[in-house]
Amino acid sequence: MSALWRPPLPFLRLIAAGISRASQHRGLGTPAGDTIVIPKRIQRSPTDILQALAGTVGQDTTGPHYKYSDDPFLSPYSNLTKRSYALSKESGRKAARWIREKYPRLFSHRPDDPLIESFQPKQQYQEGEQVGVDTLVGVVARGEVANAVTVYHLCKNQGVALPDELLQDLLELLCFYNEEEQVDVEWVEERWYRQASTTTRKTWKDNSLAEEVFASLTTREPAAYCALIRGMAQYLQVDRAWQLYQECREKGIPLDTGTHNALIRVASFLRDASDLRWQLVQELLCTMAERDVQPDLGTLNATLEALAQVSGWRQARDLSLKVLMEFHQLGIKPSLATYYYLLLIHCRDRGPRSDILVGILDQLEGQSFTLQDPKDTSFFVTAMEVARNHLKSLKVAERVDSLLHLGDNHLFIGDSYKESVYYRHYFALSCSSLPIDEFMQVYDKLVPHIYTPEPGIMQEVLEAVQTSGALHYLPQLWSDMVTFDHSSRDKLVGLMLAALTHHHPSPDNPQLTERLVTIAKDIWTRVQEQDPNRRNRVTWTGQMLGWVVEVVVRCGEYQTATEVLQEATTTPQAVLGVLPAPSLTALLSAALHRKDTDTAVAVVLYAQDAGHQETGQMAQQVHSSLPLSNQHLAKLASALGRDVYLPHDTPAPAT
C-alpha cells in the first residue's frame, strides 16, 4: 500500500469528524431524527495545560527554590551559597555546552527527531569558508551577532552581492545589540545574578560595522535611518543621533514612533537646564503630532523618563500628571514602567511627601500584568522602597506585596538584586512597625528561603528583640546567624552578647537560661577556634569579653568565665581594650562565693593591670573573705604596691 494511496469511499470520515450524517449513507442504518451538535474544540497552546496545572501550585515558604535540592544538607541558606549553588549548577551546563561547541565531531549520536536546532553545536565561521546570502540570512534571523559580523566580512571578501533588505536586517541587528553578543537566553541564573548595567556614558561603537552597513546601502530607506538613530540613542551617542535626526528632518524622511521615543528618552543629554530639556521633549512631541506619527506606550514612558531625569525641577510633578492625562485621553493604557517613573518623579528623598503610591495601588489592585516595557520590572522594588522610606507605612507595603503575589505578577520582581532589595525594604519596615511576635511570624515566613537578611537588617532585628525583651527568639536568631555566615561579624556578635546580658535567670525560666548560656559559650568557642588566616574574623574587645563573662557567670557557667579571664590575662594583645569593671566584679563575687582563691586573685591582678578604680575595693574584699596564702599575698602586694590599703595583720608588702 503506497503512502499516497487514498481510500475511494471515505464516508466514515464524516462520522469520525463528528457530523451525524450516518443515516444518509448506505451501510450505516438507524436513521437519526435529531442532529447532534458536537461543540468545537477549545483552542489552546501546547503549554496551556501545563500553565493551568502550575497555576494550582502556591508558594511554599518552608522549602528552598526549586532550582536547589530540597534537602537540609544541600539547600543554600546564606546569600553567598544561594548565589554560588545556582551559578555552579549552571556552570556545569555551560561546561557541557563548551565541550559540545569545542568538539562537535564527538556528538554524532542524534536521537532527536524532528531535529532540535538548539541541541546542535553552534556553527562557527572561519576565514576562507564559503558563504552565501542564505548563510547571512540564517545568522541574522537567529540573532547571532558575532557570527553575523564574520559572515558579513566573508561575504564582502568573496564578493557576494547582498540585497538591501538583508542589509537592513543586519543593520537592525547590529544597532540593537551594539555589535555585542548577548548572554544566551538559556543561562537563566547568569542573567538573574548579573548586575544590571547602569552606565550613563556613551557605549556606541563609532565608525563601526553598523555605520559601514548603513553607508553601503544603495537606497537609504527611512527604516535604515530609524535603526541607526535608535541604536545611537540607546547607546548614548546622542550628538550623532541628533545630527541624523536633523538630517532626516531636512530631507523630509519620515521616522517612526520608536525612533522618536528613543530621542525623547535621551533628551536630557542634549540640553542642560531642566526647562530646556522639557522644551526639547515638547518639540519632539509636537513634531510627532505634525507628521502624524501615532504615539504609543513607549512615547508615554519615554516622556516620563525624560521628566524623571529632571525630577528635582518644580514643574516636573505637575507636568507628569498632565502628560499622563493627555495620554489617557489618547487611549494609551499605562504600564508598570509608567508608574515606576511617576514614583521616581513624585516620591523624592528630600521632596515633599506624596501619596501617589496609594492612588496607584487603588488603580492596580487585583490586576495581572504583562511585560510591555523593560522598566516594568523596576516598579515593585521602587514601590516597596517608597513605602518604607517615603511613606513609612506597613499597610502600603503589604498592599504592594499582595499585588506582587497575585497571579503571575511575581515575575515582575526583576533580578536577584531587585528581589533582595525589595525584601530588604519589606523586612526592615515590618521589623520597625510590627510588634516583635508578629514580626517573627513574617521572619519565619521569609527567612531563609525567600530572603536572607543582610548584616545590617540582622542588626535591626537583634536590636528590636533586645528592645522588646523577647529574648526567647535569640536562639533561633543565633542559629540563623551561624548559617548565614554572620557569626564572624564583630558588630552582630557584640549585639548578640549585649542582648544576652539582658537575661536575668530565675527559677521560672531554667530552659531559656540554659539555651542562652549555650549561645554565649558557642560564641566564645567559635571565636576562639576561628581560623587565624581568615580575613574578616571577630576580634575580641574588652567589652565583648566582659559581656561573655557577665552572661556565663550569671547563668552559672563559672568554668567558662575563668577561661575567658585566663585568655584575657595571657594574651592581652589579642583583646582590644580591657574587661569592664562590672564584669570583673561579677566574676569576683562568683569566685568568692565558690572560694576560688586563684581566680579571685587573678581578677584583682587583672583589674589592677587594667587600671580600674575598683581594684582596691576588690583586693580588700578578697582579703577579707578568703584565707590567702603567702604566695597570693605576695602577688597582690607586688601588683598593688602601696596604692592599696591592706589591714595590719598582713605581712607588709615588700619594698
Binding site: I42, D48, Y77
Partner: protein, 440 residues
Amino acid sequence: MGSSSARSFSTLLEFTAGYVTSVRWITTTGKKVYVLDMRAQQLLRPLACRSLATSHPRAEIKAAAEEEFRTLEIGRKKRERFTAKTFKPATMLPPRYKQQKTDQDWGSVWPAARTFHPATVPFPVRQGYPASGQPTPDKWANAELMKIPNFLHLTPPVIKRQCEALKKFCTPWPAGLETTAKQEKHFPVTVSKSSYLHSSPTIRDPKARIVTLKVHLRSLDLDYHGRDKLLRLVGERYDADTDCLTLVADRCPLSQQNYDYCQYLLTVLYNESMKTEPWEHEKELVDLEKYVWEGSPSQAAAQNVVTARGINDAEELLKEYGQVVTDLHNEGEDEATVLRYQESVMKLLGLTDPQDTATASEPKYIQGERGQDKDGWVGQARRDWVVRGVKLWEEGCEGQRDRGVLQPPAQHHDKNRAFALLSLEDTSRHLRAFQKTQIG
C-alpha cells in the same frame, strides 16, 4: 655517558690536583660542574664520580651538603604521627517538616512526582524488613521508601484542584448523547489510537501508527446474505459475544494512513458483502453456514416416526422437533437445548413418564454426587444417552425388544438424578429397558 665519562673526569681531577684551586668543567654531555675546593673534592672523589654518573650534579651537591650532619638511625624509623583533619559538621537548619504548619498547603510543598524525602514529608512512615528484635525501619535513610513510587503529589484535594483548573479546556457533553445506546446510534464507529510521550529528544514512537476501528454489526445495514458473507470475510475479527467487528491497521508508517486504510477496509467489506457473486449459488450442504432441518435426514426420520405412529396432526409436532434439532446444531449442545431436544423426542415418540410430567419440561441442573459442573461427566452422560436414543430410533427400534429388561431403581424418583448416578453402560441399558416397557 656512564662509567667512561666518570673515569675521564676522575683522571682529569687527578691531573689538575695541586695546580689549581678552583676549576670549572664542562663534561662531554655539556653538564656544568662547579668544583670549589679541589683538595676537598679529592676526598669526595668517589662521591663526585657517582654524582656525574647518576644525576644532576648540582642537586647532588646540595643533597650532600644537607646530608652532612645526618643522624644515625638505629632500628625502625619513627613514623610521623598523622593527625586526621577534623571536619566541622556542616551548618544546616533542622529538617523542614519541623517548620511546616499543620494547615499548610501540601500541594505546594510537593507539587510534582519526586522521590520520597524524609525531611520534607511530615508524617512518621515506616517501611522495610525489620532486623530481628528491631522495629520496622523508619523514614530516615530508608531506601525502601525511596525505591517505591509515591503518590504524594496526587492527594485528593490536589486532584480536585487540578480538575477545576482543567475544566476551562473542556466543552460540555453534547445534548442527545446521554446514554450508551444513543451514542452508539449516532456514532456507531469507534476509532482509537495511542500517542506516546517520552522524556527523550524524539517525539516518534512506532506504536503510535496503530489504528483500531470498532463497529457493531447491528449498526451496519446488512441483509442475511450480507451478514453471512461479512462474517466469512472478517473471520476472527468478529466477536459474537459483543457483536463487534474490530479492524486493526498497522501496516502503514503513519497513523493517518492506517486510519484511512481502516475506513477503506470497512467500506470494501461492506460493499463486498452486499454483492452476490454468481459462484455463490454453487453452495453445497457442507458450505452452509448453519444447520437447516428442512430436507435433512433428521426430517425424514421424524416423518417416518410420525407416519409409523399414525399421528394425524403432526405438523406442529414436526415443526417443534425441527426447531429443536436446529437449535441443537446451531446454538450448540448445552443444558437447555439438550433438555428441549429430550422433551421433543419423547413427545415425538409418544413417550411419557407419569412420575415426570411436572419436572421434565423445565431444564434442570443435575446435582450429582461426583460433580457439580453441568458440563462434567453428568452432562456428558446425558448427552450420550440422548445421542444413543436418537440413534436407536433412527436405526429402527424393532429389533431391540428382545433385549433384557432392567427396571429403573425405585428410589430414584427424579429421572435426571437417576441417569446422573448411573454409569454410561447402565444408562444405555436402562434406556433400552425403559423404551421397551413404554413401547411394548
